[in-house]
């Protein structure tokens, strides 16, 4: 038996023992485990599952063992993911640390910083948030103005971040700050700090979907120890861009729409009805078919990118990340719109009696999905990236 087949068997056995049956079912948004100091779990099983996976390093399968990761090769990780999908296991942990901060820390952090920050991310003990956007710096992120001054012993930070997802629930922030006002991109640094530090204040913002997953974050005379600068002073922009690539890739791999909920085809059949064995509304049927086909092709593309190692220079990966982000955003928005259309009046409820829980959830998802083409870099900005970086089109003079 080849090594990889042996690995598959071992993995299968391990998962059989450690993945509780209750976690082999679809997960609603409320059941997501985010970890952190104030972690909440929807069940004891969910806690046990995170603990088992975290101890084995399989929340971060390809990170080195010395930082708590699983130390798996890409091939082994592919097998692990296949086995997880096979038993329909829920992800043990959602985490900006795993998806965004960890990968750049591995690349740009000092040995001491990796030892300090990575293992708690793997075990789900620290929850991170992303301090990038500011009121005056959205798409033009590099125009950010949050000041960070050298005060000898420490840095002192003053400014404001906005749209900081889950800042009110996070333990630590990775944050872009201005350390030099004379140059734009070359005056940005990448720092991290504990959200309990004096001078950090968060105010949740309410979204059109009724939820408040993101915040305004005010930073007033926040003292940050010098060893919490990641990479060189004024060298933050490179790290910032690399992190965005990881964010976009991850957003696409998770495809927004993995959010459990109503199945589009089932809902269409049930609410719109059939005529001669196919969906009665032929126009809607055609649009659903078109959507499903693009969706299947997108899933194939993600799968191929994951297993492909032929042409994965970091430039290629970054180019792919923008394409995937554009596709994933439009597919999820389309799916939510189609679902709403299938539901008819049933899809127009906000809360309360007269609407099923599933339908109410679909309506909220639909509203939330409008952010997909904004978060992580807007669709327009990603199209700019594709046009310039991938297709080599010129800037105006």
């Amino acid at each position: 038996m080849s090594n990889i087949e042996e690995f598959r068997l071992e993995t299968r056995q391990w998962l059989e023992t450690h993945c509780p049956a209750s976690l082999r079912t679809p997960m609603s948004e409320r059941e997501v485990v985010w970890g952190g100091r104030n972690a909440t779990f929807p069940s004891d099983d969910a806690q046990r599952w995170l603990q088992a996976m975290g101890e084995r390093g399989w929340t971060a399968p390809t990170w080195p063992r010395s930082y708590g990761g699983g130390g798996l090769t890409a091939e082994q990780n592919a097998v692990l993911q296949e086995e997880l999908r096979r038993i329909k296991a829920r992800p043990p942990l959602y985490s900006f640390g795993l998806w965004m901060f960890g990968p750049v820390l591995l690349e740009f952090g000092s040995e001491e910083q990796k030892q300090r920050f990575l293992p708690p991310i793997v075990r789900g003990e620290t929850r991170w948030c992303q301090g990038y956007s500011e009121p005056g710096a959205g798409s033009d992120l590099a125009s950010l103005a949050t000041r960070c001054e050298d005060h000898g012993e420490h840095f002192l930070i003053n400014g404001q971040k906005i749209w900081t997802s889950y800042a009110n629930l996070a333990d630590w922030m990775f944050c872009l700050v201005r350390t030099d006002t004379r140059t734009k991109h070359g005056g940005i640094s990448f720092v991290v700090f504990d959200m309990r530090t004096a001078g950090v204040e968060t105010r949740p913002i309410r979204l059109i979907s009724g939820d408040s997953p993101f915040c305004e974050t005010f930073l007033t005379d926040v003292r940050v120890p010098k060893d919490q600068l990641i990479g060189p002073l004024n060298g933050g922009w490179e790290i910032a861009k690399r992190l965005l690539m990881h964010e976009r890739t991850n957003i696409s791999a998770e495809a927004f729409g993995n959010a459990a909920g109503l199945d589009l085809i089932e809902t269409a059949r049930q609410f719109v009805g059939l005529r001669e064995g196919v969906l009665a509304n032929t126009d809607l049927r055609a649009r659903i078919a078109r959507h499903r086909m693009r969706d299947e092709a997108f899933r194939l593309a993600v799968q191929q990118a994951r297993t492909g190692h032929g042409r994965s220079s970091s430039a290629a990966t970054s180019a792919l990340a923008s394409s995937f982000k554009v596709a994933a955003a439009s597919l999820n928005q389309e799916r939510c719109e189609l679902l709403l259309e299938c539901l008819g009046h049933e899809g127009l409820g906000w809360e309360g009696e007269g609407f099923s829980t599933d339908a109410l959830r679909a309506t909220r998802h639909w509203l939330r999905s409008k952010g997909n083409s904004i978060e992580g870099g807007t669709t327009e900005i990603n199209l700019n990236v594709i046009a310039k970086r991938v297709l080599g089109l010129p800037d105006p003079v």
């Binding site: 693009r294 092709a297 554009v326 596709a327 046009a387």
Partner: protein, 378 residues
């Protein structure tokens, strides 16, 4: 699956060969010469091992496999190269490999691999693709078959030596619901071919079968209501590989123009409204490419087994996605070139014309969306 180093090398070789030996302008040369393809070119394609790519070495082929030949077809599609590669080396060889008896394989495959025997798929009978409504009829007689009917828009029908023909089985005077593939030598008495002049200048023909006497060995595989379908799936996947190549080349042509044409003192490629249009086409093409790769890998993974729903699904998926992508790219190619794109000396028109032919062949995107929808329970 990612490409193996062999496949990578194959792709490089194929792209270079077609770019040098048969650039898009060769379409005009063929048109002037009044021929649908260049026989010397076909011989060179054979020498490179491309015409025997699907065929195992034991039968004189190079055994490169579906994905490998798909890469070659894509390269040919990039330059709009006309040759029997698609019809004979991919579809024809696959049909014989998947449905032929040992004897049929032994006698046909080596000659297909050499390129001396060429096949063409004769399936459609009406302006739209409805293979289940096939009216061409094969009647079983002592020691053989008698074929009657008419096929339309047969690609390579003007030149192929063997017509891979779908016919309904007539048992004792009653038409059954079973269809079967037949290999009809085009020189047989009772076969008439009418060359068609299509917009893309390729070698299409209408074909009439009037009481054509065939031997018992003309029938391929078994008669069944379903088992013939995988040949059409293979045809769609092969076509999609070609279309993927044509679409990417048309986009590349357009990008070159955007990077060199100046108006208002700016390169027109710096206009964001144009950048976003081509960037979206690029994303569409990536999805189309993933569908083609997925389908070719599926063919390789399963070997030459016959029909199954997953193959039907993937075939319709890639035919429809490549059809849509090529349709949109070919329109934008003309539009973004402006006036020059409307002229016959420019290649835009060649891509546009070929695009519509390939989109229509073996089912439009809309046909395949409908089929996919049925398979998915929509």
């Amino acid at each position: 699956m990612s490409m193996t180093p062999d496949q990578q090398m194959l792709e490089d070789t194929a792209r270079q060969f077609f770019a040098e030996r048969s650039p898009p302008g060769a379409v005009r040369a063929n048109r002037t010469a009044g021929r649908s393809f260049d026989p010397t070119l076909w011989q060179q394609i054979g020498e490179l091992g491309f015409s025997g790519a699907l065929i195992p070495e034991s039968h004189g082929g190079s055994g490169i496999g579906y994905r490998g030949l798909g890469l070659v077809l894509e390269a040919a599609g990039r330059t709009l190269c006309a040759s029997p590669l698609l019809q004979s080396s991919f579809i024809g060889a696959a049909a014989v490999l998947r449905h032929g008896s040992a004897a049929q394989q032994a006698s046909l495959l080596p000659r297909i691999a050499m390129g001396e025997l060429t096949l063409a798929l004769a399936v459609d009978e009406t302006p739209h693709h409805h293979p289940e409504n096939t009216r061409t009829v094969a009647r079983h007689v002592d020691g053989g078959w008698v074929l009657n009917g008419r096929k339309r828009f047969v690609a390579d029908g003007d030149s192929a030596s063997l017509l891979l023909t779908l016919a309904r089985i007539d048992t004792a005077g009653a038409e059954s619901d079973a269809l079967r593939w037949f290999l009809v030598p085009s020189a047989t008495a009772g076969v008439t071919r009418q060359r068609l002049h299509t917009v893309d200048g390729e070698g299409f023909a209408d074909i009439e079968f009037a009481a054509v006497d065939l031997g018992a060995d003309a029938a391929l595989g078994t008669a069944s209501p379903t088992s013939w379908q995988d040949v059409l799936d293979v045809a769609c996947i092969a076509l999609a590989s070609t279309m993927q190549g044509s679409a990417e080349a048309a986009l590349a042509l357009t990008l070159d123009h955007l990077k060199t044409r100046t108006q208002f003192g700016q390169l027109i490629g710096s206009f964001q409204s144009l950048q976003h249009r081509v960037a979206r086409l690029h994303v569409d093409l990536q999805l189309a490419r993933a569908a083609v790769t997925g389908a070719l890998d599926e063919l390789d993974a399963r070997g030459h087994v016959t029909a199954d729903p997953r193959l039907h699904r993937l075939a319709s998926l890639c035919k429809a996605l490549c059809g849509d992508a090529l349709h949109d790219v070919s329109n934008e190619t003309v539009q973004l070139h402006g006036g020059i794109g409307m002229t016959d000396v420019h290649d835009s028109g060649l891509f546009l014309k070929r695009a519509r032919v390939l989109e229509t062949l073996y089912g439009t995107s809309s046909h395949h969306r409908d089929r996919y929808a049925r398979l998915a329970g929509i």
